[in-house]
């Protein structure tokens, strides 16, 4: 079933990338130190290795997209609330019907707490600095 999940994740991320008008293949992540990122050592604790890989791949793609969306002429996500809502929709598309939903009690809560801490809990315009910060936060989920 791994390839099915991977396909679903890829499909949903392609939707996001396509909507953002960005190329899918290249990575343009750049190291920045705009905000300290709390490494979520325990976020994926207890998650099976195959499922953890799916989540890791998902968030690696999110890390890539959030930066490149900001380089688009008309970014899809303009505020952190936009990003939060797209993140939720992408999670739904990637993991619904995969058996992951409800499989690991507290996993979603831990992810939310981590993202609130790392990216923030206030709706603000997605400046390039905040995009870089969010990208680092997503990429650190591993």
């Amino acid at each position: 079933m791994g390839w099915v999940r991977a396909s679903v994740i890829a499909a949903c991320l392609l939707v996001c990338a396509g909507a953002a008008g960005v190329s899918w293949v290249q990575s343009v992540l750049r190291p920045v130190d705009t905000r300290p990122v709390v490494v979520p050592a325990s976020v994926l604790a207890g998650v099976g290795s195959a499922d953890a890989k799916q989540l890791r791949d998902f968030y690696a793609a999110m890390a890539d997209i959030v930066v490149r969306d900001g380089q688009a002429k008309e970014p899809v996500c303009k505020t952190t609330l936009d990003l939060r809502n797209r993140h939720k929709a992408a999670l739904q598309m990637a993991f619904a019907m995969t058996g992951m939903v409800g499989k690991y009690p507290g996993l979603g809560e831990r992810l939310d707490a981590y993202l609130l801490d790392a990216i923030g809990g206030t709706d603000v315009p997605l400046t390039s600095a905040i995009r870089e910060s969010a990208s680092k936060a997503f990429a650190a989920i591993r």
């Binding site: 970014p75 303009k78 609330l81 939720k88 993991f95 979603g108 809560e109 206030t122």
Partner: protein, 311 residues
């Protein structure tokens, strides 16, 4: 048939005498009589002296962060007063100290409710009527969809304000706008007051009949030419030249109506006026300072949606 035109036609109409703004001394006096601070105060006197004050920069920053091109809305009807009031309000909002803590920019202010408050179905508006509505009756609404009101203000649509002119702004829209009133409006009576207002991050709008050339010189200045019954916002003051304080005037005719050099990062569509011209404009009696807008509280994200999806 609604009175909407292309931006190019609008420029020609103003040049040919379209009355977009009216400085009505009686209306101004009536409004001033109701204000706690009808005239710009002495407490800030001199605070902008000798300074270069560029409050438009905060607006430009917010506009870019929300994916918009600063000051790109070009009038398609004689609603210049609503654009001028909006641009002044946005200067005040963007420079409000609370914007960095408890309040949020969200998006630029919408012009349609302001124009809809003019009280008649024709074109143009009395300046004091519109700025007074934003202060006493209505207030600010933003460029966004108001699903609860069945109202889409996310893109400039002059037809909305045109329609409301005759019958008034709907009560539910007025109520929504009134949550974000312009707390203080004061009449500007001198160029020094305009300078001091801008130096403190207040918005300034000016209604007059002074027209201008369509070119800027090497210092970004456009010289007076012709008659425009027009309202425009002032977005910066440069008092670094002794005896010639200059003001950046933001027009609402888009970017292409004027060409020439720009200075101090002034936005597209704007030009500078010299102190003597500023005085001529202010002498029309339709220059207002706006401040203390009841802003938009920052929204809090209670989560990032993962628990709802994954459990």
């Amino acid at each position: 048939m609604e009175d909407t035109y292309s931006p190019e036609e609008i420029v020609r109409l103003y040049e040919d005498g379209l009355v977009g703004s009216v400085c009505d001394p009686e209306a101004t006096a009536r409004l001033a009589a109701t204000l706690p601070m009808p005239f710009f105060g002495f407490t800030l006197h001199g605070s902008g002296a000798g300074k270069l004050s560029l409050p438009f920069k905060a607006v430009v920053e917010f506009e870019k962060a929300t994916g918009r091109k600063p000051y790109d809305e070009a009038q398609t009807t004689g609603d210049c007063v609503s654009h001028a009031v909006r641009n002044a309000i946005d200067i005040a909002r963007a420079n409000d100290p609370d914007i960095h803590s408890t309040e949020d920019w969200v998006d630029r202010t919408a012009t349609e409710p302001l124009y809809g408050a003019r009280g008649h179905s024709g074109q143009g508006a009395i300046c004091s009527d519109i700025v007074g509505w934003a202060h006493r009756t209505g207030g600010c609404m933003l460029r966004k969809k108001y699903d609860e009101l069945g109202l889409d203000l996310s893109q400039y649509n002059a037809s909305v304000g045109i329609r409301w002119g005759g019958r008034g702004v709907p009560a539910n829209v007025t109520s929504a706008a009134a949550k974000h009133r312009v707390g203080t409006i004061s009449l500007i009576q001198s160029w020094e007051q305009a300078r001091d207002a801008l130096a403190n991050g207040y918005g300034v709008l000016a209604c007059s009949s002074v027209g201008f050339q369509h070119t800027r010189n090497s210092e970004g200045v456009a010289r007076p030419s012709g008659v425009w019954q027009h309202a425009m916002a002032w977005t910066a003051a440069d008092d670094t030249r002794p005896g010639d304080c200059r003001f950046c005037v933001q027009n609402s005719w888009g970017y292409s109506w004027i060409k020439g050099d720009r200075v101090h990062g002034q936005p597209e569509g704007s030009f500078w006026v010299t102190q003597d011209v500023a005085k001529r404009i202010i002498d029309h009696g339709g220059t207002w300072a706006v401040s203390n807008v009841d802003g938009f509280p920052r929204r809090q994200l209670k989560d990032w949606g993962a628990k709802e999806v994954l459990g």
